[in-house]
Amino acid sequence: MDRRDALAKMFSAKGVRVNTNRGEAYYEKLRETMEKRLNELRQTPAATKMDIHKALDAEGLSRRDFMKWASAITAMLMLPASFTPLVAEAAELMNRVPVIWIELQDCAGNSEAILRSDSPTIDELILETIDLEFNETLMAAAGHQAEAHLDEAMETFKGKYICVVEGSVPIGAGKEWCTIGAKAETFEEHLLRVAGNSAAVVAVGTCATFGGVPAASPNPTGAVGVQDIVKGKPIINIPACPANPANITGTIIHFVLTGQIPELDHLNRPKFAFGYRIHDNCERRAHFDAGEFVEEWGDEGAQNNWCLYKMGCKGPMTFNNCSIVRYNSGTNWPIGAGHGCIGCSEPQFWDKYAYERPMADANIKAPTGGVEKSVDEFGLGLLTAAGVGIAIHAAVSVAAGKKDEE
């Protein structure tokens, strides 16, 4: 490494950039790791009868569709194109990766995002073929039977399973309101128990990552994210409301391929997905630069797809790949559909991003803690106070002040 590289490395510890050109030696070594890992997986018995080819057949998708998907995921994971066969193989071996999916304070929206589309994408099918050992929304078992199954899965796959968490963890005064099972385990205890034996924890959706909507002011349950509770385990955050199935699949495939978690940013989000700013890849950006803004829903600007900044778009402060990957097999995404970004993949988004006007016009608690005011109202108040103070000083100076003799 030359000196400039070394310096850049030292300084950019928190940047979101992924180096996609690490030289042949690096990729050779990576390929070996992956091949070894896939071999090991192939030796283990498949846990479900479902595999990706059956799922594809059932949906009438061809091998060609599958390979197209595999090369897209390879690119998304920022691997060279020659890794495509490995990614495809990993997808075929997904039914050998045990996953325990638990739900805490959530709306099951992330599960729904994956499961409820009428024509599932390959991302979604992949998630159907994983060895889902436990998922409250989907499984047939209930009550004691479900609990017994969870215990058994945790024992059998000890240290091997991925613990996926959906929903926030209440740890405040109201934490007793949320319990699971006959023994009234609190969500926190439940999470610690299940995460404790896992290989890695994947927090899916903004509630699990940063507390999300339940943590919004005044946060009655003292909701926090998984990373605030679970320590000493690799944790991957996949925020957004809901998390994009493409990013969930990408992360799990990365884990299947390498046995390691992908490169993460300072909020533990995979850089391959959260290394992009919405605003920089937005189709309306030219209108932003031109100063052409939608002023009201349905106005002239809205009909011409102008920039949604004045309607409160938070794309300039939000990192996610929605503007590139989009949702529902690339059908559309919020800004494409005419509503600004609400910053759902950023911490504290409900309080600090999700209002339908620019930050400068939003009513936020004044720094004094008092009435909610916009920053400009508060600022004008400050200026008025200063002006009054100066006017009084000037008036008294004229009336009672003393000029030095010339």
Partner: protein, 233 residues
């Protein structure tokens, strides 16, 4: 010059040029910053996109003002310690002499110049501390502004090399936890601090005019010609 008065040099040519450059940039930064925060003039101008870059120009002016602030601030920070004219740091250190002078000048202000027990011919501690507050506010605008700016360089590249975003992250990432943990907090405080600066400017201008009127030593001339006039003892 009036008989009985002598001229004292208070600002070098460089300091005066810097003062006016900063003043102009400040007006530009406020005007364009407010536009960026809330685009306040309408652009339903029947003009094709060919040269219509209203937001882009506002951001350009804002960032140009910012980079001039950057350079100016680095030089001013250096002069605090190493100026060959007057080192401001010597007036800021809380030595007994400086503390007494600070309060005497303050007393002068709140007694409407009825009490004046300090030497007004040279730079005094009160004004120097007041300027320090400005320089700290400006430094804060730089750090928070550069944090907002580096969000757009998420590729890690810039036209002047990869070191630039890297240095910006190192120098400004602390502003995020410092303001409350999200990028929006940085933005909020960048905007809010603008008002603190404007308040600072209001009092600054008032105070310099006030001194000129009540002290009768031509203080306002310092920033134009570089000197003021004091009575010979």
């Amino acid at each position: 010059m009036k008989p009985g008065y002598k001229k004292v040099k208070r600002m070098t040519a460089f300091m005066r040029i810097n003062h006016w450059v900063v003043a102009i940039c400040m007006v530009a930064a406020v005007v364009t910053g407010l536009y960026i925060g809330h685009p306040y003039y309408q652009t339903l101008i029947a003009e094709p996109a060919v040269d219509k870059y209203v937001m882009a120009w506002n951001r350009w002016v804002h960032l140009m003002a910012a980079i001039i602030f950057d350079v100016s601030s680095i030089i001013i920070a250096y002069l605090y310690f190493f100026s060959r004219f007057e080192k401001p740091i010597l007036k800021i250190l809380p030595t007994p002499k400086n503390v007494v002078e600070f309060f005497m000048v303050f007393l002068n202000l709140i007694t409407f110049n009825r009490v004046k027990k300090f030497d007004s011919s040279h730079a005094d501690s009160f004004n120097t501390v007041y300027f320090l507050i400005f320089h700290l506010l400006l430094a804060w605008m730089l750090f928070s502004g550069l944090q907002l700016y580096v969000h757009g360089l998420e590729s890690g590249h810039s036209s002047i090399g990869d070191w630039w975003p890297a240095v910006l992250h190192l120098a400004t990432d602390w502003t995020v936890p410092f303001t409350g943990g999200t990028y929006m907090d940085v933005r909020y405080w960048h905007h809010m601090s603008m008002y603190f600066i404007i308040v600072w400017v209001m009092f600054h201008i008032y105070y310099q005019v006030w001194r000129t009127i009540y002290w009768q030593e031509g203080d306002i001339a310092i920033v134009f010609g570089g000197s003021k006039f004091v009575k010979k003892d």
